[in-house]
Point group: C2
Chain length 313, copies 2
Amino acid sequence: MRESEIIDLFLRHLRRQGDLPLGDDAGALRLGDRWLVATNDMLVRKTDVPDIMTPEQVGFKTVTMNVSDVASMGAEPVGFLFSLGIPPDLSADYLEGIARGIGEALDFYGLPVLSADTNEADDLIIDGIALGLTGRLLTRSGAKPGDLVCVTGDVGRALAGLLVWKHGLGVPEKTRKALYEKLLEPRARVKEGAELSGLANAAVDVSDGLSKELHLLARMSGVGIEVYAEKLPIRGEVTEVAGALGLDPVEIALASGEEFELVFTIPEPLLDECPVQCTVIGRVLEGAGVYITADGKRQEMPVLGWEHLGKAP
Amino acid sequence: MRESEIIDLFLRHLRRQGDLPLGDDAGALRLGDRWLVATNDMLVRKTDVPDIMTPEQVGFKTVTMNVSDVASMGAEPVGFLFSLGIPPDLSADYLEGIARGIGEALDFYGLPVLSADTNEADDLIIDGIALGLTGRLLTRSGAKPGDLVCVTGDVGRALAGLLVWKHGLGVPEKTRKALYEKLLEPRARVKEGAELSGLANAAVDVSDGLSKELHLLARMSGVGIEVYAEKLPIRGEVTEVAGALGLDPVEIALASGEEFELVFTIPEPLLDECPVQCTVIGRVLEGAGVYITADGKRQEMPVLGWEHLGKAP
């Protein structure tokens, strides 16, 4: 079964949902004048962990990917939980690396661990759960026509790094370092999420690639989105790898997942007072669909994921 | 590595904990005048699911075991989350059964699902997470000398049912039904947990067996506990199986895990106003240790788990 079929199957049986329907980065419950935000994300070694990742990086990333979902809801993370599935042949050193990575991430994000569970399993599995609080929720469904579309940081390095690794591409050490840093040690935009809570109309974190997130944002908000290719914050290292592989750097930027940057839409008059360092990459339109304009030519943006570029040998 | 070694390894690296140290049924964070309670519990098919369990029962139990941990903290469950690891060869029917079971449990407990995640994995894995709220926390560390020790419902049927199944024991249909009901379709004591919140000094749910829970309660509260064997609420069906297998029904009752009954301690003067149907099985003492008195003879209670009786062929 495809993931979408599995999700449909479950949705048929899960009639009771929270104060926000399923489908956002996290779920939410109203608690008086605040929202409690909760999210969970399971990491399976076989499918989610490149060989070059250290156990410390695996542990840290388990926290980051959940904290990022909380941040994209405009919430401040307040607690972390995790469940482990541990194969009997996993070394104590590897396990200690994971513990160290989780501990470092909790220090980095200033977050307590509330509960943990350990089990024997066939493969290494870490299910992370993060909780957050906010006075005002950011969702995927709040984008308004006229809003500017913005993104924090830069996009594309995670996938470019994966391509370097998969193709065994020889690149200068400085390039490799810049790419692997984003691939192996991404950081969640916690401060930015909290700052955007009072200003943005909609937000999502880049987990599955910018193009997928933009399509989701447009569909769930019932709007169209136009993005200008030349505005995308693509670093030179990504262009370098694209050149070496005969790929379009814009495609890499649109397909690259697990970037953990925040994409948000904001009314233009509020941009000046927005303290978040970001790049304006487009605009929300009346209507539907996601478009990309390059060299003055506007076309529909394809739905790209890193499976389109990253998994090719 | 043993589970206790894994836990120690992680505790060395997890310096930041919630407003309640790790070690209770659930973690907790103070939110104004309330406590947010959070717990997670992973189910791995290979080790946790007897063959006779239907997928509906598996799904339901994933909710129950987490809701029970919330209830044992004196909290009202307010939300559920889950992550799935799905092996590629799992049938759509089996998966739909799990979805149905989770949905039925959410209806039964009146609980919304806040977030869900699905992944490919080698074995079926369901990580359940439950959140709850309470004005007053019940922990494992609040028992006071002089308190009565009480338990809801009855104990022993889950393990007696497992023994019947493992030994292929021929028992009357009525007996099998009473035992399998508890083994396969246990229910969490949600109403009782909320009612005990204002009255009890300490509580724990019977996940790992009554004797283990009592030892934990005594150690974490810095008290001793005395239990009277003849007061234990053991049903006739358990005695029947014990007789057939040459076992002591009291040992079955003490070792039986995943009962999801609540064990709590309460000041004697409050018992009359306690609306929870329960059995007084003992008393909290000054000092340390857990004792069981049978036929007027008092001895130390062994730490029994269902691995002692249930896994023997």
